[in-house]
């Protein structure tokens, strides 16, 4: 692999995305992408006693399903890179404590999925690993409890607020495609922390959009590509507010992304029917939408070049209460169907 430009790494071997798996909760199962997910739950508790246990079970079962689907023995998985939104990443670590796979718990808020893919693909391309798993999860109820208010509190959600996705998405990155046609990761652009001073924790899209812009522009400059090089550019959970901001900001910088850009938080819910205000968010948002919907589009060659930019708001409830602004982060992963 080679570093090109300021922040981008170009891979020589272009690791394969061998398989993906996704599990979503009941609300996501009522959304427009329901048919693309591997498993839809009809109960947020999934037979567990607490939200936290339920989220652990979701990521655990999702990773197990992924390994079973891939045809690779779990002993052949070298490492896993997983994360979630709960304090100290307990969903991932508790969920995967019995898997016997060397474990990296990572935190990048809602950008964790792309952070995991960046690290995983670097491991595979450098031959430090043959197969790695990248997985994330989030759960509406555990996130509300930790970041906002008890579920039974009778408050109104502001129009700019987003709805944390209940679900988990996971991918296997591999240096071997097992004879299958698989999309590949050709380069990655890990992002910088960008803080434009937004303090409103109910307006995450606006807090994260500048980071997404920074990573997008850096990626395009580093690779010398134009936005139109990609069939689709997706961001993870900027929501309606953030999507509009990113589109307009990109335009002021001379890039038109109106035609091939969309946001996973916008895609996963039906805003009118499901009353999700600005759209979905959470580590599980881009993870499930990519693992479910976009991976299938790539496999069917309906799209061939995809730029995935997952965005994260690097705050917690303490920093919000202390009046800190919300630093944003975004990591980009270029995924392409090469002629193989």
């Amino acid at each position: 692999m080679t570093k090109i430009g300021l922040q981008t790494i170009k891979f020589d071997s272009a690791p394969y995305i061998l398989e993906t798996s996704s599990i979503v909760g009941p609300k996501e199962a009522e959304g427009p992408l329901a048919k693309y997910f591997d498993q839809c739950l009809d109960d947020e508790f999934w037979g567990e006693k607490t939200w936290e246990k339920a989220e652990s079970k979701i990521i655990k079962e999702n990773v197990n399903a992924l390994v079973a689907k891939s045809g690779i023995a779990s002993t052949d998985i070298d490492y896993c890179f997983t994360g979630d939104l709960l304090n100290q990443c307990i969903s991932s670590s508790f969920g995967l404590r019995e898997t016997n796979i060397p474990f990296f718990g990572i935190f990048g808020a809602c950008s964790t999925f792309a952070e995991g893919m960046c690290l995983g693909s670097t491991f595979v391309d450098s031959k430090a690993a043959n197969n790695v798993i990248c997985a994330t999860s989030s759960h509406f109820c555990s996130a509300e409890k930790q970041f906002r208010f008890p579920l039974e509190l009778g408050n109104q959600r502001p129009q700019s607020a987003q709805w944390t996705v209940t679900g988990s998405g996971a991918v296997i990155l591999s240096n071997n495609n097992l004879g299958k046609q698989c999309p590949r990761i050709t380069c990655i652009t890990p992002g910088k922390i960008v803080d434009m001073g937004v303090k409103d924790a109910n307006n995450m899209g606006a807090a994260m959009a500048p980071a997404a812009l920074d990573t997008l522009l850096t990626h395009l400059k580093d690779t010398g590509r134009k936005p139109s090089y990609y069939d689709v550019i997706i961001t993870g959970d900027l929501g309606y507010v953030g999507k509009e901001i990113l589109t307009e900001l990109a335009e002021t910088k001379g890039y038109n992304i109106k035609n091939n850009y969309d946001d996973c938080g916008v895609l996963i819910f039906d805003k009118e029917k499901q009353d999700t205000h600005s759209g979905g968010s959470g580590c599980g948002c881009i993870a499930t939408v990519f693992s479910g919907y976009f991976y299938q589009m790539l496999k069917e060659k309906r799209i061939n070049k995809l730029l995935l930019i997952a965005t994260g708001a690097l705050m917690n409830s303490t920093s919000s209460q202390q009046g800190e602004s919300i630093p944003g982060i975004a990591h980009a992963v270029a995924i392409e169907n090469l002629d193989n």
């Binding site: 609300k27 939200w51 208010f149 579920l151 039974e152 509190l153 502001p158 109910n202």
Partner: protein, 128 residues
Amino acid sequence: MDFLQSIDWMQLLRCFVVGGLICIVGQILIDKTKLTSARILVIFVTTGVILGALGIYQYVIDFAGCGATVPLLGFGANLAKGAITEAQNSGLLGAFIGGVKASAGGIAAAVFFGYIASLIAKPKIKKQ
């Protein structure tokens, strides 16, 4: 049936309108200031204490009955009224006892029912 006939409908209307107007003030605070609900409750209860202490809120209560006492402003006014009455009867000790004594019923009820509810109920997701 005697009770129904004894209801003062004009009083009920005044109660409805004043209670509703106080809630509109709260709604404007929610929508315009992005304050969390805890802060709004604090603003209302503290304002209630001040208005109660100045004797202003008693006029609202006289006019609107429960339209003034049921909103948290009334809870605050009741705290102030209790503290003042008790302070006048038994001095400094009363200043400490009076407020809580006057609102003890509400506080105890909230704590007790909260505990009972937690024994029986299970958290559920909001459907919207």
